[in-house]
Symmetry: D2
Subunit: 336 residues, 4 copies
């Protein structure tokens, strides 16, 4: 059960509520986010919910039986809007394109990509400064200096930046140089990292785990939400299955399911999802109609020379065409 409290609830009123719930055998977790103040009550005793709703200091009460509460649509039907400033947002009813290289490599690389984003109307630049790699012998990214450079070039042209954070100690360093923190698939259940990101006043995009369930993704978002951060974006990026004809199995089924279960916006990453360049376009287009609120796509001026993930990266011509088509599809969808 989720109980939303009034902003300036009196201590005595809150004690009454706590005692009432405790007397019914409920365990209580108090949650203060950047936007609001909640009690999460965990228990099973039946009682007339109006007895709680009538108490002074209570704004709203909902029963939510899911393992996640605050990110559930049962609690909050209105979709969450992630405002990135400058008229750019991630939200239901919009379609936000994010694109950029797998790894930040050089100023020239980033400048050309930012020009391309401006030309094609893509408002958010992605780019990895810290790269998680299965093999310890693979390229691990330019680090914080790469991020600063990317941020400087992008912001000079009004483009927002999303980049992956891998470790608690990077949060403070990265804070001033990202508009959205990204949590990668290997860290989706790094609960300490999630807890710290919950304290940060900046949006976080969290990817589904490599073989994470839809419920686990929502529980991981709940971790951040209950630590204080409501500005969350969910991202489907492909799951691990027995099928090896594609890098991962992009699970577009997750899109309508997540949209129904949660009020958070949902983004699709077709590049990692299918992992093969010539199939990124059909899967990206399909994402729009599956109900995604945006996509995040890997692009590079010369994919064959990219420091990582070139085999799933679009060049400028391919991506320019894709952005145009996605806009067409989204416009048609809005017209229905």
């Amino acid at each position: 059960m989720v109980v939303e409290l009034e902003e300036h609830i009196k201590e005595a009123d809150q004690k009454v509520i706590n005692d009432f719930l405790a007397s019914l055998g409920y365990k209580i977790a108090e949650v203060k986010t950047q936007k609001s103040h909640y009690l999460i009550a965990i228990g099973k005793n039946e009682f007339d919910i109006r007895k709680l709703g009538n108490k002074p200091g209570v704004m709203d009460v909902h029963r939510v039986s899911d393992e996640y509460k605050l990110v559930s649509r049962k609690w909050k039907a209105a979709p969450t809007i992630i405002d990135l400033g400058g008229g750019i947002s991630v939200r239901e009813g919009g379609f936000t394109m994010m694109a950029g290289p797998c790894s930040v490599e050089s100023e020239e690389q980033i400048s050309k990509i930012v020009d391309h984003l401006v030309d094609t109307g893509v408002p958010v630049l992605r780019g990895g400064a810290f790269k998680p790699r299965s093999s310890p012998y693979a390229f691990r990214g330019l680090g914080i200096e790469g991020l600063k450079m990317m941020y400087r070039i992008a912001h000079a042209r009004g483009i927002k930046v999303i980049s992956e954070v891998m470790e608690i100690s990077q949060i403070a360093d990265m804070f001033d140089y990202v508009d959205i923190f990204q949590v990668g698939a290997r860290n989706t259940q790094n609960f300490n990292l999630l807890h710290e990101l919950g304290k940060v006043d900046k949006p976080v995009l969290i990817k589904r785990g490599i073989s994470g369930t839809i419920e686990e993704l929502l529980q991981s978002a709940e971790y951040m939400f209950m630590s204080g951060n409501e500005k969350l974006i969910l991202c489907e990026r492909g799951i691990r299955t027995y099928e090896k004809a594609t890098r991962n199995t992009l699970d577009l089924n997750a899109v309508p399911v997540l949209k129904e279960k949660s009020h958070l916006p949902v983004i699709v990453d077709p590049s990692h999802g299918i992992g093969i360049r010539e199939f990124v376009e059909p899967m990206a287009l399909a994402s729009v109609l599956a109900g995604a609120d945006g996509v995040i796509v890997e692009i590079h001026e010369k994919p064959e020379e990219a420091a990582s993930d070139g085999q799933q990266t679009l060049n400028f011509e391919e991506s320019g065409m894709l952005f145009k088509k996605m806009n067409d599809v989204f416009a048609m969808k809005k017209s229905w």
Copy 2:
């Protein structure tokens, strides 16, 4: 290697070709389909392919290293067109909608659905007469009488019929009452059944196995092709994964992969694929942009009263809307 022979090749010429291949250590499978005459040569010795191409009686030669040969686009680049008569076909460049109930239940049921198909421009009726069921205690269908009734009502209105065949002995009984035989996911590797369907002069739609790979689906199609039947349709219907929020994981990634690997048309079954009524529409729409050549959807006048699979079945209002939207999307796609 695939060698296409001239229609009336002389026996002596064919012997020369056989001897030539045998001398190089190749094993030869001779394939006569309803359309053509092939030699499939399995082996690894290198030789100048022109020495074979020049021989009398040889029309065409291609190296195909896949485990499947005749269904590969490496052999035949031109897409296969499945002509159902009456101006109806399944083919690349078209989008063929198929719809109907999970199980044939009654004349009234079928009549109403056929009216709905005519009204909404859907040319093919699906309906199960023989039902494969995991539990021996579940409803197993009306059998051949149900199929005859369905065929009669549909054909009276110009609608074609697709229905599942589960067993060799049913092929002859069903032959006059289907326009397309359907092979279900549990029979995708029932090789004896495939062999017999290969001898039949009627299109066959084959579903991907419950946890079948893309390659296995193509190999199963190859079984039918090499037994003589070139009129084959591939169908993605969801695979089994660890994710239980949906009935199956509809693998739309398979669509562009199959389209690239094979010249056969590819259909998507979103109803079984995701298995939850409210999510069928987004996945069906996404299928169009993933590159499918059609869909097969479960519909029923009153899904809540359906004898089977009601939880994934659309009613007439929902399906009418979906058919219209799919046409819109396909028209936009053609315009690009």
Copy 3:
């Protein structure tokens, strides 16, 4: 609910029982096996079960809520014993080794293997006469003549024979030349085949599907049981997962689970299960302690020359050692 009826129940008594169950809203399936006579009643209404147990003609009644009934241990706690004659059986409390080549190839091959089985105390010979193959261009076996030869050589030495049946039409041909029919992983849900095998008075070993659940395996066994055949053996043979370091993922977890859920004996196939020769021994030995009632192992005099599956086949020295160790382990287990 399972109701076991007396052997010569009077028609009038049975009608009373049927009417009683129908009046409670139960649907009834009547099952006559080679051993007994049952009613399977499907429904949910609560009632005092003694009212049914007291009726004339009723021997026993049990509530069984699983999707499978007659193969459940909730119905029949005593383990099923499969008597093969000649003092050989498959059963809980015993450990039955089965071994032989993937494919029957020649008289010489079979003679040498039978000698080896006799020498090492293995009572059952396996060998494929009809081979299901994913690729239509692979070796498909010697057919019925191979089976007859295998049966003749094995029976001359007191060895029993198990071989795979792929198709209804093969049942009659094979009947006189097998002691156990084997249903392969690709046919586990070939319900028409199961139905026909249910009418046969000969044991059937059924393998778990390639990605079959434990529950589906039990439901498939139920199909045969309710068609009349109680002489069933379950076989774990590895499932399909994302892990590609092994051919399949032999799921030994299934062994204790199946043993708890069903009264049928459970056999393990480590050869297909892990699919790599040097790892067959550890997995076979582990199977004994996981609780298996036997194993079925691929052996060949010269695995590197086998017509199929050589990479997972043990030679005589390896298999002789393995048989001895399995006996040691089983003896220790019995001593606990």
Copy 4:
């Protein structure tokens, strides 16, 4: 390629080696572990390996084409021995039992368990002080104070301690109170954590990821090894599959595969692996014969009252019996 250097190699000699490899197009990673000094050379050019082996300062050279190098048996055939002091070790040729509660709960709980371990000859106590939980509302452990208490009680009786580390910041706090750090399945690809654990002079047991491949587990171990820590233990703990009859699918196949590919010892966790109390014993026993060098088992005086994971936890009677049987099986295995 792995090049082991002499302990006090001259700078000039090392430069010669570096230049030689660079001239062949190899990239070089220099690795100094607590035991030795290596160059890892990544490249593909062919050359006579003796030209490198002959150079001053080179102790040994091996080609290792795997994605992991230093943990490979191709590099180091001799098994790694993890010496815990007090005559206790984890190693091939031994069988080390580890047992304890999922979560540390109280002094009384730990004291009773330690008594039980001493009585039954189990040398290592497991117990979670920091608990990773999918749901933010679940019990998260007693923290560092719980660990200190556990360590004090265990060491007073000569028992070693293993406990999970979730976050870099915990390493220093935990260092004095564990004999083995444990990396949980959700952190197997937390590369920053692995990097830091590589700098620690204490054994680390790393679990396979929730859906991690065998190769990924070895690559994760390689991360720690190349950061300096050679005292590594691999642990199979069940993978995620479609099968839901068990909590996870304990993949015993991984045991012989890991033992062949790596020189590191391999432990099995049957408790998380199958996740159901009555099936822990058969899977633990099976692990011994699959080739494991030890097990880690969850036990509790009263599993039904455990703060977490009670459904997969053995009581003292059950675990005492299991320890005895595992010793019997291991003794038999050694006798072969």
